[in-house]
Structures are given as structure tokens and as C-alpha cells.
């Protein structure tokens, strides 16, 4: 009997022990509002990406300090602050004084949510997402790496141009923040002396909402709810009055509109082709090189992913041909055989570290993709360096333009060279990563990563060694995973670096980094 009692005691204590080990898992970047390293008061004069002038969007002249209307707004703000619910206060701490990071995070989450490849129909054919019927399976969009890279560029460029204009008017009108005008109003974040008209937060909220709604139409209501919560938090945080917010909304709306106008004619809508066009692209490669890539899935996908993404309008590279890499070694050549042998060696003797690298960088289906991964790194570095909102937007705009340009260049190479994947060329070859539905040469991970690393190294030279290491690791991860040859990865790295340099050259014109 004694033994049985002991048994029960042991059971209960072990149970208690296990429960105490549970922890909350992080669902967002953990950061709070912070004091900006610099206010970047001259940022209103930085070069815009899409707009011709920093007053192309006009906003009303703000009411003066001491005017009855501004005093009324201050009274209204105090009433809102006094009556703030716990949820509204939580929103203030969630959005912070650099809310672009939150909107970028939302963008990555939606990329992940919509990054699912269409399943075959019962008859072996494949359905495709239809932007005119986004809620019909497969849902629109299928946010694969090209889609996500392009989405992030439009998001970041709209935010950046909007914030440059906001900074211009902040300096021009010089209206102090409510917490400086009324001693009863306290800023929820570090007081920094940044002028508050127009609200930079509202520019970010509305430009982000509108870009993301166009890119993820089924999320319209969710995004509207997030934007409303964000706008409301600006007044409750004590950093804006309602006219600041209204003026910011005007800029945000126009910035998104300008970006979406470009998006509507950039060629993306032709990127996913039909089979006839896809076959003609393949036949051109066979005529040129004597080889072609074939999808290896069952049932076979008749068309690769976005064969004409390589024709999408680039941001900072004049023509895609000028960054096209040299031809890969012919399948069956000595150089090819050496590379194929290397893959077999990895597959047969995979080390723990190689497996970890392959999986860490996989960023495949149901993920934020490699462009998302680099946006995550950028967010972490921005917080570490306490960048102002406008300088944050600058990093993201130049990085994401470089990333999508790298994607366009990579896709141009993929379908120009139409190079087979290892599972097609090496008989019986098995991989630990899924092989994507597009040709091998060059590696998307490598080009995206090298371009991102090039731009981030310009903005954060102290981190350059780390970025280079990450890009190289991302490139090799595909080789360890068995889905790319070493030359796909290495040439992809130099291609991405080359493309990224165009973005850096443009950024350097401001002479502010």
C-alpha cells in the first residue's frame, strides 16, 4: 500500500512540474516605442521614389497654436485620453511610435497566410487563383516569393514617399505636438520634439491599409479594423490631434494611390502565363541550349510559377538583360557532373548543421518567403539602431526595391535558361526540401538574399559581415537541401549583389546615410 501512495505522489508532482514549464510563444517582434536616434528633420528634402515633388499632395494649412479650433482639438484629445479603455491603451503600446514595423509585420503575416500552392483537381488538372473571384478556391492571391517581393516593394515605397512628404510639411508648418502644447497631455512614448502636423502615423496607417487591401483583397475588413485601431491610438497616445491625423490620411491615401497606379501597369498581371505561352518559352530555351526544365510533380503542373515575372517593370535597373548572368554548365558536362556529385554527397552524409541551415532558410510554402525573412532582419536592426519612422521607411523602400528587382532578374534567368532541377537531372535523387515549381538557375534565395544584404550593408555598415554571412548561408541552404546546384547559388549571389548595387547607387544620391 505504501508503495502505491508513493506512486501517486510521484504522479502528482510530475504533473505539476510539467505544467510549470509552459510558456507563452511570441507572435510578433518584441519592441516598444523608443527614442529616435535622430529626428531627421531634413528628410522632407530627400529624393522621392514615385512623386515628383514633396508638395505634390497638398494638405490644408493647419490652424495656428492658440487658435480656438486647435484648443478644441486639444480638449477633445484630453477627453479621449481620459476615457481610454484598456484595449485602447493596449493598442497604444502595440503600435508604438514607429508603427511601420507593425504594418510590415502584418504584411508578412498575410504573405504567410496566402502562401499555399493550389492543389490538383480530381481530374488531374490544376486550378489557378482568379483576382476577380478572390474568395473562390484557390484563394487570391497565392503569395509566392515573386508576389510577396513585389507587394513589399509597393508597401515600402508608398510608406516612404508618404513619410518624406509628411516630414516636409512637419518642418514647413512647424506645429508642435499636443503634449508640448498642453501640459496635461503626456506622450505615451519618448517625447522627442517632432512636429505633429501632419501625423506620420496616419500616413503609415492609411498607405499600408490601402496597399495591403489591394494586394490581399479578402483581408479588407481586417485591415480596415487594424487601421482604425491604429489611427485612434495616435490621439490617445498624446502625439497627435485629429487635424494631424486627417492631414496624414490625405497623404497616405495619395501615396498608396500613386503606388497602386504603377502596380496596375507593371506587367505583373501577365506574369502567370497559359500553357501555350509557357511552352513557347520552354521551346525557345531548347532551341537556344538544348535542355529544358520540367515540373516533376504528380500530376504534373502544366505551367511553372510566373514565367513572365522577369518582364515585370524594375525599380532601379534600366533593363533586365544587363543583369542577366552567364549561362550555366550544360547538363552532362564535367562541371555539371562535379556539381551533381556534390549534391549526392550532401544527401548521403547530411550533417546536423547542414540540415539545420537547409530548414532554417527554407522559407517555402506557408512562410513569409525569403523577402519576408530579410524584412524581419531589417525590422530587428531598425529597432536596434532606433531609427526614426522616415529613416526606417528609407531602409525598407530601398531594400524592398532591390529585393523585387533581384526577383525579376532571377526569374528572367530562370525562364531564359530554363535549367532543370536536380530531381529532374539526377536519377533517383531524393531531397529533404520540396522542389519549387520553377527552373533551377539561378537560385531565388541567393539573389533575393544578396540584394537585401547589399542594401542593408549600405545602411548598417557595422552589420555588413553578418548580412554577407546570412546571404551566403541562405544560398548554400538550397544546395544542402538538394534543390539547387552550387552554381545556381553562387551565380545567384553575385547576380543579387549586382542588382542590389543599383538601389544603393540611387540611395546614395541623398548623401544622408
Amino acid at each position: 500500500m505504501k508503495i502505491q501512495v508513493r506512486y501517486l505522489v510521484a504522479v502528482i508532482s510530475l504533473g505539476a512540474l510539467s505544467y510549470s514549464c509552459m510558456e507563452e510563444l511570441p507572435t510578433e517582434l518584441e519592441y516598444n516605442g523608443y527614442e529616435f536616434a535622430e529626428l531627421d528633420q531634413d528628410a522632407g528634402e530627400w529624393n522621392l521614389i514615385l512623386f515628383a515633388s514633396n508638395e505634390e499632395v497638398t494638405i490644408p494649412q493647419p490652424s495656428a497654436v492658440g487658435s480656438p479650433s486647435l484648443n478644441q482639438e486639444l480638449q477633445d484629445a484630453k477627453a479621449k485620453i481620459a476615457g481610454a479603455t484598456p484595449a485602447q491603451k493596449e493598442a497604444v503600446s502595440y503600435w508604438t511610435n514607429n508603427p511601420l514595423l507593425r504594418w510590415n509585420e502584418i504584411a508578412l503575416e498575410l504573405s504567410t497566410k496566402y502562401n499555399l500552392i493550389p492543389a490538383p483537381n480530381a481530374d488531374g488538372t490544376y486550378p489557378a487563383p482568379d483576382p476577380t473571384k478572390p474568395d473562390q478556391y484557390p484563394l487570391f492571391p497565392y503569395s509566392h516569393p515573386p508576389y510577396t517581393s513585389r507587394m513589399l516593394a509597393y508597401l515600402s515605397v508608398a510608406q516612404y514617399d508618404g513619410l518624406i512628404m509628411a516630414w516636409h510639411y512637419k518642418e514647413k508648418y512647424g506645429r508642435p505636438a499636443p503634449y508640448e502644447l498642453d501640459p496635461q497631455i503626456k506622450s505615451a512614448y519618448e517625447s522627442n520634439g517632432l512636429n505633429s502636423y501632419p501625423s506620420d502615423g496616419a500616413v503609415v496607417a492609411i498607405s499600408s491599409r490601402d496597399i495591403l487591401t489591394a494586394m490581399f483583397p479578402l483581408e479588407k475588413e481586417f485591415l480596415a479594423k487594424m487601421a482604425d485601431e491604429h489611427l485612434e491610438s495616435l490621439v490617445i497616445a498624446g502625439i497627435n490631434v485629429s487635424s494631424d491625423v486627417e492631414a496624414g490620411k490625405l497623404i497616405g491615401t495619395q501615396a498608396a494611390k500613386k503606388a497602386l497606379a504603377r502596380a496596375s501597369t507593371d506587367g505583373m498581371k501577365n506574369a502567370q502565363t497559359n500553357k501555350v505561352k509557357s511552352d513557347s518559352i520552354k521551346n525557345a530555351a531548347i532551341a537556344r541550349f538544348g535542355w529544358s526544365w520540367e515540373n516533376q510533380e504528380t500530376p504534373q503542373r502544366p505551367v511553372g510559377l510566373t514565367p513572365l515575372f522577369g518582364r515585370v517593370k524594375m525599380w532601379n535597373v534600366p533593363t533586365v538583360e544587363e543583369v542577366r548572368p552567364i549561362a550555366p554548365p550544360a547538363p552532362g558536362s564535367e562541371e555539371f557532373k562535379e556539381n551533381a556529385e556534390e549534391l549526392k554527397r550532401y544527401a548521403n552524409n547530411m550533417t546536423t548543421e547542414q540540415r539545420r541551415v537547409a530548414n532554417f532558410w527554407n522559407d517555402g510554402l506557408n512562410s513569409y518567403t525569403p523577402p519576408g525573412h530579410w524584412n524581419r532582419f531589417a525590422k530587428e536592426t531598425v529597432v536596434k539602431n532606433r531609427l526614426s519612422p522616415v529613416r526606417t521607411a528609407r531602409v525598407f523602400a530601398y531594400m524592398n526595391m532591390a529585393i523585387v528587382d533581384a526577383g525579376i532578374s532571377c526569374w528572367d534567368a530562370k525562364y531564359y535558361y530554363h535549367y532543370p532541377r536536380p530531381i529532374q537531372s539526377i536519377p533517383g535523387f531524393k531531397t529533404i526540401l520540396g522542389t519549387p515549381n520553377f527552373p533551377a538557375y539561378t537560385s531565388g534565395h541567393s539573389t533575393f538574399s544578396a540584394a537585401a544584404a547589399e542594401v542593408l550593408s549600405h545602411f548598417f555598415p557595422a552589420e555588413a559581415t553578418q548580412y554577407k554571412k546570412w546571404a551566403e548561408e541562405a544560398a548554400m541552404s538550397r544546395v544542402y537541401g538538394g534543390i539547387h546546384y552550387r552554381f545556381d547559388a553562387e551565380i545567384g549571389l553575385s547576380q543579387g549583389k549586382n542588382v542590389g548595387a543599383y538601389s544603393v547607387t540611387r540611395a546614395k544620391k541623398d548623401q544622408v546615410d
Binding site: 510539467s18 504567410t112 537547409a358 525573412h373
Partner: protein, 306 residues
């Protein structure tokens, strides 16, 4: 060195439960007398051609037929007449007939479990027996749990507490019912971002806890040389997400199944202590897992050690 210390040291030495498709012993109504040891080896071969994506049963030609082979050595020892210890360490190999994804193989989870008999009552023409089983398992190799469907296991510690009730007629037939709560810890993925209804910025994945229930009807024949049993087993995860459309499963999934099984064990007359066992099982409903059908064959050898 008292019993309590022995008990604790046993727990510390071991840990781990597999998806214990077979582990009849922790679930059954048998006890080894003090000093007896039973050594067993079980080989299992199971397949699926369809899997449940959420509740939807689908095929995927890029997997084709999925196969899992397992060889599991197991030792059962009688610490006392009323407390037994059970240790097992399966070696698992997975593969698929379709597609180009590599299978996996290696040691799965080391499991140690203690079974105590709490009630042993004569009642009418039979006996009522109640047992409790406490099990702990932990991954025995660095296999990647986030490599489904090929991963060898769910890659987390599991603490299981089971109650077993059994009524056995003196003539041989018995009815056994058991219920268990399986408390599972977290597993580590090799990616540090994943999606489970929303984004997670960590490599830690919460493996859902599960409830397991089993009802068995069996009987002894030939002076207790042959045991034949039919059982129904159900597993329900307490939480977790569904596999997304045409996407890979992940360890956070809510895994459920219902399975029927036929089992037979025979103790040879010719060699004292030697037994053979065989079973077949089939899943008839489930959620977020392959619809396995499989068989197992085993050898058991029982002897008096101390």
C-alpha cells in the same frame, strides 16, 4: 536505497513514449510478479495511401503510399508484484512510394513507464482489477519533428497518466477499459518562424496534449497459453490547428484517430517463457494524420531474474 529512490532514478534514466501504436504492455491488464523480467521485440509495418487534411480524407500522389517500419525492443520488469516497470526504444524508418522527398530513419523516443496495480478484487465469477500507468518519453535522437509526414515522432517529452479497469472471468474472457491523459511539451523546429492560425516568431512549437481511450474485449484459451483480443482505440488532441490545404502537416496539428485492432499472443509449450504475438490494426476515422493500417509481429521471453 529505498523504493522511492529507485523509482525516481528510473524516471530520470528514462523518459519518452512513442505514438505507441503497439505498446500493449503499458495498456494491458497484466502484471509481472516481482523479480520476473520479460524481454520483447516487436516489428511493425504500417502504410497509408490517404491522409486526413483536417477532417478531409485526401490522396497525394507526391507521397503515394506512405510506409513506416518500426522495430521496438522492450523490457518489462516486476519491481514488486504490484509495480512493474516498462522500458522501450523504437527504431523507426519512414518512406514514400511517390514524389522525391527523402524518408527518415533513426531512434525515436525512449520511454519508461511504471504500472501499478491498485485493485485486485474477487467479484462474482471473476476478478476486478484496476491499474494505473505513469509513462514518460523523450526523443532518443535529434530527429526533426518538423518534417512531417516523414518525421519519426513529434519530438517532445510526453508524460502520460493512465487508468485501466478490467473485469476478467475465471473462465478466460475479459473486458478492459482504459483512459489516459498525455501531457506533451514543446518541440524545436529548425525554422524560427511558422504559422499556426497566426504567425509565430520562434522555433518552439507547442505539441498538443491528447486524451487516449481504449476498450478491449478478449479471452484466454488453452490454460492461459493463448490470449486473443479485439480493441478500439481513440486519440483526441486537446488543442492544435488543422493541416492547411495541400500543405505539409506540422507538430502543432490537432491529431485525432479511431482505430480497431486484433491482437493475439501465444506462449509456446516447448520453450518455457517464450511467446509470440501478432496484431493488425486499421484507422477508420481521423484528423490531420495518415490513415494507417498495419501489422505487428513480436517475440517475448519471460524469465525469473531475481
Amino acid at each position: 536505497m529505498n523504493i522511492k529512490l529507485k523509482f525516481l532514478s528510473l524516471l530520470l534514466v528514462g523518459m519518452g513514449i512513442s505514438i505507441l501504436t503497439i505498446a500493449q504492455t503499458p495498456l494491458d491488464g497484466l502484471m509481472m510478479p516481482k523479480g520476473e523480467i520479460c524481454v520483447a521485440v516487436v516489428y511493425e509495418d504500417a502504410n497509408w495511401e490517404k491522409y486526413w487534411e483536417g477532417a478531409y480524407l485526401r490522396t497525394n500522389q507526391n507521397v503515394g503510399t506512405f510506409n513506416r517500419k518500426m522495430i521496438m525492443p522492450m523490457i518489462v520488469g516486476g519491481i514488486t508484484d504490484k509495480i512493474n516497470v516498462i522500458v522501450s526504444l523504437p527504431y523507426v524508418k519512414t518512406s514514400a512510394s511517390g514524389g522525391q522527398m527523402a524518408g527518415a530513419e533513426g531512434l525515436q523516443d525512449f520511454s519508461v513507464s511504471l504500472k501499478a496495480q491498485l485493485v485486485d478484487h474477487t467479484m462474482g465469477k471473476g476478478k476486478l482489477k484496476v491499474f494505473s500507468n505513469l509513462s514518460f518519453s523523450t526523443p532518443a535522437s535529434n530527429y526533426l519533428s518538423d518534417y512531417l509526414p516523414f518525421s519519426l515522432g513529434f519530438g517532445a517529452n510526453e508524460l502520460g497518466l493512465r487508468a485501466i479497469g478490467m473485469y476478467e472471468l475465471d473462465k478466460g474472457p475479459y473486458l478492459r477499459i482504459s483512459g489516459a491523459y498525455l501531457l506533451r511539451g514543446a518541440t524545436e523546429a529548425e525554422r524560427d518562424f511558422y504559422y499556426e492560425d497566426n504567425a509565430y516568431y520562434t522555433s518552439t512549437m507547442d505539441v498538443p496534449d491528447a486524451l487516449q481511450a481504449q476498450a478491449s474485449l478478449g479471452s484466454w484459451f488453452f490454460q492461459k497459453r493463448l490470449r486473443v483480443e479485439a480493441s478500439l482505440t481513440s486519440l483526441r488532441c486537446a488543442t492544435g490547428d488543422d493541416i492547411r490545404i495541400y500543405n505539409s502537416p506540422q507538430p502543432t496539428n490537432k491529431v485525432n484517430f479511431d482505430r480497431v485492432e486484433g491482437f493475439a499472443q501465444y506462449y509456446l509449450k516447448s520453450v518455457k517463457g517464450l511467446g509470440v504475438l501478432a496484431y493488425y490494426n486499421h484507422m477508420f476515422s481521423g484528423r490531420n494524420m495518415g490513415q494507417f493500417s498495419g501489422y505487428g509481429l513480436g517475440l517475448t521471453y519471460q524469465f525469473n531474474a531475481f
